[in-house]
Amino acid sequence: MAKGVMIVAEQRDGALRKVSFEVASAARKLADQLGDEVSAILLGSGVEGIAGELGKYGVDKVYVCDDAAFEPYTTDAYAQAITKVVKEKDPAILLLGASVLGKDLSSRLVGSLATGLASDCTDIKIEDGKMVAVRPMYAGKCYGEIVVSGSPQMASLRPNVFAAAENAKAGAVEKVDAALDASKLKTKVLEVQKDESGKVDLTEANIIVSGGRGMKGPEGYGILEELASVLGGTVGASRAAVDAGWRPVTDQVGQTGKTVSPNLYIACGISGALQHMAGMSSSKYIVAINKDSEAPIFTKADYGVVDDLFAVVPELTKECKKLLG
């Protein structure tokens, strides 16, 4: 019978991604409730050395699949190898991070394992021995509790929502042979263009300073960049700002942009359209700066400032500098 909780760990350039520790910690909680073990699959080239780190976050055993074909990530190679390991080890629950690559991989595994997946979950628990996964639907206008009848019960977890909690376990490493069938590898990564700006992706940022049409133009974002740099945050945007060409499309937060869950989201000159709030309402704290006291963004804001953002933001930067300095 299927048993235990397995996670797929994500690494890039030989370093485990933060979301993997979040997923490991969530898996540990489920396994403790079930009285089971947590295992992890780690794929890559020359990654054996980092496998043990997963033990710190509650993983009992790490299956390492080392092969040059796993660097960089391709759906074909990863799905083929993971499907094989999952079928052999037969875990009851399989968890991944809902990062961009995690979304690609987890949904492919649904097909190869012929099971069900609760994607981009914000909570997960055990009820009557079964996994119940909670996820926003309809852009967060309602939530669904998902039960998976296939095996393994799969869920992908939204980055930045689950706490990475240290809880040391053995983290014993076992090498497994991927025995890849190269004739099935039909895609190839030609190039990896790294963003050298060092900007933390919006989906992984702890603090986001976001600007909308109220920024008046691309130059307006200078004051947001300054505030973000003092707070160690990342700058985001509304669709109005992206469509106007003021910010790149990768900065868009909302229903047709990124879904973000930072600790702090500062919305400047953003009215709070439903489609925008769909992407940021799972932020832990929301600050709105808008000169229109009727703007819908104030219905979601923990702290609202009704004033001209061009006067408030530089002052806020100054005050934060003082407090943090």
Binding site: V100, P136, C142, V148, Q255, L264, L274, F298, V305
Partner: protein, 256 residues
């Protein structure tokens, strides 16, 4: 080139979503239905490919009778024909069942490229394209913002956290569209008129030889967690308000 584009009909992004009192789903009365915005990017890319390489575009959709409107919209944009999979056992089906139905329909037609939206904005699950690719044993290029198809090779740009990948795949393959890929065209009036005469086939589960086999169920639907009411910050001027916010973020929220 034989091009397939998948569309789903979803509530308009402005729609109010009301949860049924018994938590068994949402009350869909009074909802305005539209083509899933991500599918619009897929349809547009399919049409651009047809303009470049020739061939035709087949739209495939699973859903109840009302979905015909979404298919007709795609035909009005310029697609050539439609397949509507309509069966009561497939309403609100899970991703696996939906992909299985699509795979059965697509197996019966020639295809070189299959486009779909990277997710549908109703259940937001983002799985159907990849499951379909697996069921048809095809490679997948997901969440793509740029695409170039030459001969039997597709090259695509996929943004990931902190980087962009340039990925190459052989055809046939499944491509899921992300915002940024293109600007979808509007259906023109002559397009709308022409769409009415384009072939549209309706198939049920029996005709496709499939049965619904749900692997994941929404056991309960709930309203979103409510946020405690916020504070509007008082202060004589911007500086005073800013000082208060900074203090609250530091001392009350403890997030900076």
């Amino acid at each position: 080139m034989n091009i397939v584009a998948l569309v789903k009909q979803v509530p308009d992004t402005e729609a109010q979503i009301r949860v049924k009192p018994d938590g068994s789903g949402i009350d869909d009365s009074g909802i305005k239905w539209v083509m899933n915005p991500y599918d619009e990017f897929g349809v547009e890319e399919a049409l651009k490919l047809k303009e470049k390489a020739g061939g035709d575009v087949t739209i495939v959709s699973v859903g109840p009778a009302r979905c015909v409107e979404a298919i007709r919209t795609a035909l009005a944009m310029g697609a050539d024909k439609g397949i509507h999979i309509d069966d009561p056992t497939l309403n609100n089906a899970d991703a696996y069942t939906t992909a299985n139905a699509l795979a059965a329909a697509i197996k019966g037609i020639p295809y070189d490229v299959i486009f779909c939206g990277q997710r549908a904005i109703d259940d937001d699950s983002g799985q159907v394209g990849s499951i379909l690719a697996e069921l048809l044993d095809l490679p997948q290029l997901t969440i793509i913002t740029k695409l170039d198809i030459e001969g039997t090779t597709a090259k695509a740009v996929k943004p990931i956290e902190g980087a962009q990948l340039l990925i190459e795949s052989s055809l046939p393959c499944v491509i899921t569209a992300q915002k940024g890929l293109n600007e979808p065209r509007y259906a023109s009036l002559p397009g709308v008129m022409k769409a009415k005469k384009k072939p549209l086939e309706v198939k049920d589960a029996a005709a496709l030889g499939i049965t619904a086999d749900a692997k994941a169920q929404v056991a309960k639907t709930t309203a979103p967690p409510s946020r405690p009411p916020g504070k509007i910050i008082d202060g004589a001027d911007a500086a005073e308000k800013a000082a208060q916010v900074a203090k609250l973020l530091r001392e009350e929220a403890k997030v900076i």
